[in-house]
Subunit: 409 residues, 2 copies
């Protein structure tokens, strides 16, 4: 299936080596032909790890594996395959994760529980572990520090462009680097995590502190993105900190010393999350939804997500129609406190509706022009309190139907 590249695509940034990280890709023949589909990262001893995973109640076997392995807070390797999600594969699925982790651990010289796993692709089909274990030795032998771009491509499924982000931060005067990649295009409505994203840093951050920053960061980034309201069974975001840069010691609980690091990590999470929305299946427009004046931040988030998940709002945007009636419907269906007569709606910064009705003398010319662009901004003021939130999504187009009506064939 050759999909055209999303018109919202952004170029992959220059991805630098992260001290201590070696990585690579190989063609393991899992599902796709003529492309790398197996990716491996190796981390040095002493690497700490944090992760957030899907809240879907039917998670994939690799998610179960990672949740258990995460307890030690230590990582030496990451193995990711594309083409088969190893979800709802019963005992065979668990055997595949175990065999893959054992094979990777043997190559790296570590415990299997220091190997992290992720799989993405079709759900419900057995993933024979031989496909992975047979390819691992050649993959491991060719790991280098500079193959981030290949890794970003190796984890793609219906993605139409590779996604990466890089930031630097200061910890006590020392400069550390954070690099991350992500994949995701459909089945995107993350709940505490999204699809697959892997981030590495050369900072030395204890696992507990890293976990706290990651969870908090995902709440404002990946958890505010939706393509189709469908929460994947494989959502996983993991951060690996190799500790190769010398900087003041970070206490287990983190704290002020990590302020700039947290800023940079959040920027990477935000950047990657928006790239996922930009590559939403069939996306023609990137949509930012700002909600202000809700009774709480949580309420604002729920209202923003209700708008972002509304098929009627998303098809109207695809049709370049600033249909604020549908926006009002989506506010009301969220179930959160709202008063129709205090509500205001703006598109592209122009207030169209205020105090329960259309703005007197409303001129739709600038709004029509805004709707024709690639980036659409909707702002809703609930008029009840100070809660605010932002969500990101894409429009709902024929492309989504094309991709998902024939995914398996």
């Amino acid at each position: 299936m050759a999909l055209p590249v999303s018109p919202l695509a952004v170029p992959l940034p220059e991805m630098p080596a992260i001290a201590g990280v070696r990585l690579g890709v190989i063609e393991a023949g899992i599902r796709y032909k003529g492309r790398a589909d197996l990716t491996m990262f190796e981390f040095p001893a002493g690497t700490s790890v944090a992760g957030v995973f899907t809240r879907n109640k039917c998670p994939g076997a690799p998610v179960d594996w990672c949740r258990a392995a995460m307890k030690s807070g230590k990582a030496r390797a990451l193995v990711v395959n594309a083409g088969n999600a190893n979800v709802f594969t019963g005992k065979a699925g668990r055997e595949t994760t175990k065999a893959t982790a054992e094979a990777a651990a043997k190559l790296v010289g570590c415990k299997p529980t220091e190997v992290f796993l992720a799989s993405t692709g079709v759900i419900g089909e057995t993933l024979p572990h031989e496909r992975l274990t047979a390819a691992l030795p050649a993959l491991f032998a060719a790991l280098t520090p500079d193959r981030w771009a290949e890794a970003a491509r190796g984890i793609m499924t219906t993605d139409t462009f590779p996604k990466g982000s890089v930031r630097t931060a200061s910890i006590g005067g020392a400069t550390v680097t954070i690099a991350g990649i992500a994949k995701g295009s459909g089945m995107i409505a993350p709940d505490m995590a999204t699809m697959l994203s892997f981030i590495a840093t050369d900072a030395k951050v204890p696992a507990a502190a890293l976990q706290k920053l990651l969870a908090k960061g995902c709440d404002k980034t990946f958890n505010c993105v939706t393509v189709d309201s469908d929460t994947s069974t494989s959502d996983s975001v993991m951060v690996f900190a190799t500790g190769q840069v010398k900087h003041p010691r970070v206490p287990a609980e983190g704290g002020a010393v990590l302020k700039d690091f947290a800023r940079a990590l959040n920027e990477v999470l935000h950047d990657l999350a928006l790239q996922v929305a930009r590559d939403g299946e069939g996306a023609q427009k990137l949509v930012t939804i700002n909600v202000t004046g809700a009774v709480s931040a949580k309420s604002a988030h729920r209202i923003a997500m209700s708008i972002a998940n509304s098929p009627l709002v998303k098809t109207a945007i695809a049709g370049e129609d600033a249909n604020w009636g549908r926006i009002v419907m989506a506010v009301g269906k969220a179930g959160e406190p709202a008063d129709r007569d205090k509500l205001s709606v703006a598109v592209g910064g122009v207030w169209m509706a205020q105090e329960g009705g259309v703005v007197p003398g409303y001129d739709e010319t600038p709004v029509v022009a805004h709707m024709k662009g690639r980036e659409v901004e909707i702002t809703v003021d609930i008029g009840l309190g100070k809660g605010k939130a932002t969500a990101w999504t894409c429009d709902l187009t024929h492309g989504y139907i094309d991709i998902n009506g024939s995914y398996r064939s």
Copy 2:
């Protein structure tokens, strides 16, 4: 916009007169050209009424009007317009409901609060009351008992076929008749009600008893139907009982004497709700989702609705792909208790997946044949308890995008 008739359409049944009810339609020029868009029902003195309305927090002005008017339990008229929903229209919207009710009350010779109102169509555009009040006298003058089929057509918006249902029931040996019509095609995810449905009976049922039966009936019918997960701001189901048939007196709280009446009412609600799913925007297949073995009926309902609302499940069905991986995803995202390894999934009565994996030796031939049909049945057994529920939806096709990307233009 001339939409092709849904391939799932069923013929409108023969709609009999209901003793005491006179009705009619007229072309009021609200939005559409060359079709009736204003419908009126007149009921005799002594008619009781019950209604359930949208839980959307931004309801339309007519919903506000009906909620207030419903308190008396008495009805003498119903006025419905198509083409403009009179939602998010502020003070002008309230003025339109008041002026319309007053004009109708003057013609009928009743109080304005005995006139019920419903509007459906575009949200957020002012509905000038003159359009309605100017047309009412001619409409009222032509009311007759036999124009149910015209009324079923007069309330349509993006519907492609008129929807009606008729049943008879016995109350203490006397035969009463229940007739109802409905409209609805998109923005369908009712919560205590759906779109517009109007039902009349010649039975004499106190308003309190009628309300109880209606609320209970809607929970298992309209509230189990979804087209696109978007809860309308106008959802209204109302039942009018003219009391023109002599039968044993029904106490205010209802009870055993209404057993057969309740059965017949539920059949009408069920029939109309399924006709709405059959006319879902772009629908090519009617989908029935049975969930068994959940921890409670409520839990089963939430899981069934999660499957019914999943864009990925619905696009797979459109593509005639029995993609049970996506069904498992939708079970898991519902947030209800589920154990991947106890889950079973059947399509068309064939168990494809059991105990967390594909059924050994699974032969997909009969499932492939079932998926090619117009009616698709999915059964999910959660394996945890005795809760069960059924939901109905349609597939998600290019037709939905076509209709909703250009609705206002």
